[in-house]
């Protein structure tokens, strides 16, 4: 979230799209209600289903799954056409005035720079135009130049008329216009609105572009950086934000630093590649905060390798693993299933072992038969879990998952009993970026161990093996520092202190070298104290400030609210720098005054920025730096020449879609979204599978875990399929009867829930149906739990082009009576 949960109460309009917060985030949803009751805020829901959120919303508009880009570009077109956008903000804080180079273009579904053979774009063709004289950015503050971002955007969205929205999304024109009217009512200084989303946007082959649309819309309306505004992602687990921050995926190191690629052999090469440079003569000089990259990475290497990390050995950069391509979820399992690496042209073997921690690949991966097939190829599998989950028992999955005879599966499976969230100390980082310490409530049962104990013991045992037997590149393991009081089970406060970082030598004050800002051994307090000469160490630069010499700030619980806006600065710790609203410089105008004085983010008092923790240098007067300090150009991007699938979002149908792309039939789907090619990677044709399937969670259950829990099983006793009344009538399906849903991958059977909440979509002149499939069941539920089909038996090996997130939200199925 750019803002926070509590801040939703400051909104005048809340657009809930690509998410169902009342269902999935009922506790945070209280702030929606608060806004409604205290400010008279309007809640608008745009969703393929009439959800629990829609049930308490002020306005609901249906949308065909996977067409959100069309809907949102349609709102942007409406805003430009009617002038209902915040023009002063757009000129001041976005790249709307920036000119784009002549090479950029768009024609019939493709941007310029597309390479058919590799299925990728050459992003250099989308670059800004450099001023011929100053070699800086070329700007047109009147927004009239046909090559300026604003005019290009206007042209790009021109095709997305209300009629086109109705045709593609199946959203009635009058309802679309009503949504557009309510949402754009915040396109001014006085009002402010928020956009909230979750996995209903991320889990599409165009997911990132849907979220881009939200960011662009909010920038057009002047709602980013302001209390009551922002683009707010609701994370799907209690600590998924923490996992992402600390390098949850292969392409990042802690703090969103890049995992080095194999061709970057030295730290200098790596830094040259990773540190962004800015063109000269920008609108104003940019802080370009990523110029601090060397401090972040050197301090991280010092945290990782301790005294072994020296200037002479490039701080141990060589020991960091390098990546030679894509190691995201679906690629790992693809390699595993093939038994060879696709990146190495099939020459290298695929993984032979897998350790899964707090994760159930069989349940959560798309295309379950492929997941099970992949695990069957492994030599060994370690499952660290509280329950005996589907992954631990994949070899005895029902035969309709395509599982081989158990006697033919050679995988040796170990299950290590883990401890649950209440059985260990630690931190959760919530959607609002608040890091909150939690205290252990009870001891883990039996032989169950904490995660850090399991990980530490594996590490220490592996290190012993390297010490005794050597091996390829032993330094990578042997040089890791492990200076915890109890090496076999590190205390998590020690780990948190390490993440925060400390001075390794006295740090002189840059303004007066005779003074010091930190003494050796003191915890660092802010980003500014980090050094790139090995005199500081820091496990994650983004979390600096969480554990200073003042103590564990994640454990703070003060409800003091000095601004009255619900920022609670002394409750836990919000990264970065305890900032509650990101990009908060944009909450003020060119003079540093709040756009809306009743809801100031930060304001310039003549000497300093005051209010929230400013994201700009606190003593830098208005006009000195652009508000968006992480972008080299200093402003926010309506045009983003960095994404894999285009600088502007464009409508592409899902990989499995029941209709043609009405805008450009020749490029129906995202041209850079990859497909897989094993025998298990089958994709359905609309002739055979005419109905849209979509998967989701229910409020009564938590993922695949609570099917073991009697009280919750009572609330939602079993698997069901939500079917619109009209479709049920057509098929002669009665409520409560058994139905079978089949995709190209497999089929599931369950109770029909016939409902008015799902409806047909009129796409062009075709009527399209949708069925809903909740995902909480599986074949492993112990003796007392409730078993049921895995929803992901149906989902395809399709994914987003930027994040490689699977496309769980739109695929094709057929429906029959069972």
């Amino acid at each position: 979230m750019t803002n926070g949960w509590v801040d939703i109460k400051n909104a005048d309009v809340i657009l809930a799209m690509g998410g169902n917060p009342a269902e999935n985030h009922p506790c945070g949803f209280k702030w929606f209600i608060e806004a409604k009751k205290t400010r008279g805020a309007k809640i608008v829901v745009v969703d393929p289903r009439f959800t629990r959120t829609a049930a308490v919303a002020d306005f609901y508009c249906p949308i065909r799954p996977g067409t959100d880009v069309v809907f949102l570009l349609g709102i942007m077109r409406y805003a430009i056409e009617t002038g209902r956008f915040h023009e002063d903000y757009v000129k001041l804080h976005t790249n709307a005035p920036y000119l784009v180079g002549e090479k950029f273009g768009f024609d019939d579904g493709l941007f310029t720079g597309f390479d058919e053979a590799s299925g990728t774009y050459d992003k250099k063709e989308w670059a800004y135009e450099a001023d011929a004289k100053s070699h800086g950015y070329s700007l047109d503050h009147t927004l009239q130049d046909p090559r300026c971002v604003f005019q290009l955007l206007k042209k790009h969205v021109d095709r997305y008329t209300p009629e086109m929205v109705e045709k593609i999304c199946g959203s009635p024109k009058d309802k679309f216009l009503k949504v557009a009217e309510i949402v754009t009512s915040t396109g001014n200084a006085q009002r402010c609105g928020t956009v909230t989303y979750a996995l209903g946007w991320t889990q599409h082959s165009t997911g990132v572009q849907m979220i881009r649309c939200a960011a662009m819309l909010q920038l057009m309306l002047g709602n980013v950086g302001r209390p009551g505004g922002g683009v707010n992602a609701f994370r799907g687990h209690s600590n998924i934000q923490g996992a992402t921050d600390i390098a949850g995926t292969f392409e990042i190191l802690p703090g969103y630093l890049k995992t080095p690629a194999s061709q970057l052999q030295t730290l200098a090469d790596y830094l040259k590649d990773a540190t962004p440079t800015t063109l000269n003569g920008a609108q104003w000089p940019s802080m370009n905060y990523w110029t601090n990259y060397p401090k972040f990475i050197v301090s991280l290497l010092k945290a990782q390798y301790g005294a072994n990390s020296t200037k002479e050995n490039d701080w141990g950069y060589a020991w960091l693993p390098k990546i030679d391509g894509n190691h995201s979820w679906m690629y790992i399992f693809d390699d595993m299933y093939r038994g060879s690496s696709t990146r190495a042209g099939g020459k290298e073997p695929g993984p032979e072992g897998l350790i899964t921690f707090g994760m159930n690949p069989v349940g959560i991966g798309p295309n379950v038969p492929k997941m099970i097939g992949a695990l069957s190829k492994l030599k060994w599998l370690v499952v660290v879990e509280n329950y005996e989950i589907e992954t631990a028992t994949f070899w005895k999955a029902p035969r309709d998952y395509g599982t081989a005879d158990a006697s033919k599966i050679q995988t040796e499976v170990y299950q290590l009993p883990a401890s649950g969230f209440a059985e260990k100390d630690g931190t959760f980082i919530n959607s609002a970026r608040w890091m909150q310490w939690k205290w252990k409530a009870i001891d883990p049962p039996g032989n169950a161990k904490t995660d850090q104990a399991i990980m530490a013991r594996i590490f220490l045992a592996v290190r012993d093996l390297y010490k005794k037997e050597g091996g390829a590149l032993p330094e990578q393991v042997l040089n890791v520092t492990w200076s915890y009081t109890n090496p076999a089970e590190p205390d998590l406060t020690e780990v948190l202190k390490e993440i925060n970082g400390k001075a390794l030598a006295d740090i002189p004050d840059p303004k007066d070298k005779t003074k010091t800002i930190r003494l050796a051994g003191q915890q660092v307090e802010n980003f500014g104290q980090l050094q790139d000469d090995g005199t500081t160490m820091c496990g994650n630069w983004l979390h600096i400030g969480v554990f200073t010499d003042a103590g564990n700030n994640a454990a703070r619980r003060s409800t003091a609210d000095p601004t009255g806006l619900g920022m609670y600065p002394q409750w836990g710790f919000a990264w970065p720098a305890n900032r509650r609203i990101m990009y908060n410089r944009a909450s003020a105008d060119a003079e540093g005054k709040a756009w809306d004085p009743s809801r100031p983010g930060i304001v310039w008092n003549g000497k300093l920025w005051v209010g929230d923790v400013p994201d700009i240098k606190p003593d830098s007067p208005p006009g000195e730096f652009g508000a968006f300090i992480m972008n080299a150009e200093g402003v926010a991007r309506l045009y983003a020449p960095a994404l894999a699938d285009g600088p502007f979002p464009e409508h592409y149908e899902a990989i499995e879609s029941p209709v043609d792309n009405l805008l450009h039939p020749k490029v129906p789907t995202n041209p850079v979204a990859k497909r897989f090619s094993t025998d298990k990677d089958v994709y359905g044709k609309r002739e055979e599978f005419p109905i849209i399937g979509t998967t989701y969670r229910l409020t009564e259950h938590y993922h695949y875990w609570t099917k073991h829990t009697q009280v919750l099983n009572q609330l939602q006793p079993g698997f069901f399929v939500e079917i619109p009344e009209g479709l049920a009538k057509e098929k002669g399906i009665a409520n409560g009867s058994q139905v079978r849903v089949t995709s190209a991958r497999g089929s599931v059977q369950g109770v029909a829930m016939v409902t008015k909440r799902l409806h047909p979509f009129k796409v062009g002149d075709k009527q399209v149906w949708e069925v809903g499939i909740p995902l909480h069941w599986g074949y492993a539920a112990g003796a007392t739990g409730h078993t049921g089909p895995l929803a992901n038996h149906l989902t395809p090996s399709a994914m987003d082009a930027n994040t490689w997130t699977p496309e769980y939200k739109t695929f094709l199925v057929k429906l029959e009576k069972a």
Binding site: Y60, Q714, G718, F720, N735, G736, M753
Partner: protein
């Protein structure tokens, strides 16, 4: 079990309660705002856990609703209803539970003295020690709330967490509600809050929004905001609830008559004694001296 710290305003099959008049307690109320209820069922679980009720066996039959109706082990149930109306589709979620009527039909119908009581704060409670399991209260309730437990042979229903309320806590469901659609306080305060919300709903386009606090039972200690206040039946609520006429007849006429009959019977016994003396248990010919002393 009755709560000792609360005085009793009314008691079943008794002429008087135990109000001493020494102190007055305001009537309490739970206010349910169905327009901000998301049907998450946290209240259902909180109710079970606080009141030590075991999970019930349920089955997916094509609805989000946990059970078709209330149960002796399930005193709090969100009812889900889908309705088309001129403004579109409404997915209505309404918390079903004992309404704690000001004139409780269950209490009126109950023949067991003290089995159903109404405390001075308005809460209506079943006292299982006194309950004889005759199920007359089912007949008396216009909201179909009391349930007979085959395990205990007693009636069971929501107590409005009287054990919590009597020590200054809110009911468990209110505590658990994540959106704040449940509120608890004095009825006076709840009515103020509720009417502000009704006015807000009317401004937001729900011209028929209303507070359900039915006059037929002289108001309830559980009041509910309905966006479609002209259609309480959409929510599974009776439009004009009242205590069934037969129960009223029983309470107002037949039972005093029964009382007269009892007095008559006592009078008859006394008269019989005066006339015939004590009845011998073992007959006149038996030797009383052989009996052990009682």
């Amino acid at each position: 079990m009755t709560v000792q710290s609360l005085e009793i305003r009314r008691s079943s099959a008794s002429v008087w309660g135990s109000l001493s008049g020494a102190r007055t307690v305001p009537t309490v109320s739970k206010y349910i705002d169905t327009t901000t209820c998301i049907g998450c069922k946290a209240c259902e679980v909180a109710c079970q856990e606080w009141n030590d009720l075991r999970p019930v066996a349920t089955e997916q039959v094509g609805t989000y609703q946990t059970l078709p109706t209330l149960d002796a082990q399930y005193w709090n149930l969100i009812r889900f209803n889908e309705r088309d109306f001129e403004g579109g589709l409404a997915w209505l979620m309404r918390k079903d539970q004992c309404m704690h009527c000001d004139e409780p039909g269950c209490l009126a119908a109950c023949p067991a003295p003290g089995a159903i009581v109404q405390y001075s704060n308005g809460i209506v409670d079943v006292n299982p020690d006194q309950c004889i399991g005759c199920r007359y209260c089912e007949t008396g309730c216009p909201f179909d709330v009391p349930r007979f437990s085959r395990t205990t042979g007693k009636m069971a229903k929501c107590t409005l967490c009287v054990d919590r309320v009597s020590v200054g806590l809110e009911p468990a469901c209110v505590k658990a509600c994540p959106t704040g659609c449940l509120h608890f306080g004095t009825k006076e305060d709840m009515l103020v809050m509720a009417h502000i919300r009704v006015d807000q709903l009317k401004k937001d386009g729900f011209a028929q929004a209303a507070l359900y606090d039915p006059a037929g039972v002289n108001g309830t200690s559980v009041v509910t905001i309905l966006a479609h206040g002209d259609h309480p039946e959409w929510y599974g609520l009776p439009a004009n609830p009242h205590v069934p006429i037969l129960v009223k007849v029983w309470k107002k006429f037949l039972r005093p008559f029964g009382g007269i009959a009892i007095i008559g019977a006592v009078f008859g016994v006394v008269a019989h004694y005066m006339r015939h003396g004590p009845k011998s248990a073992f007959g006149a010919d038996q030797d009383d001296s052989n009996l052990p002393l009682a």
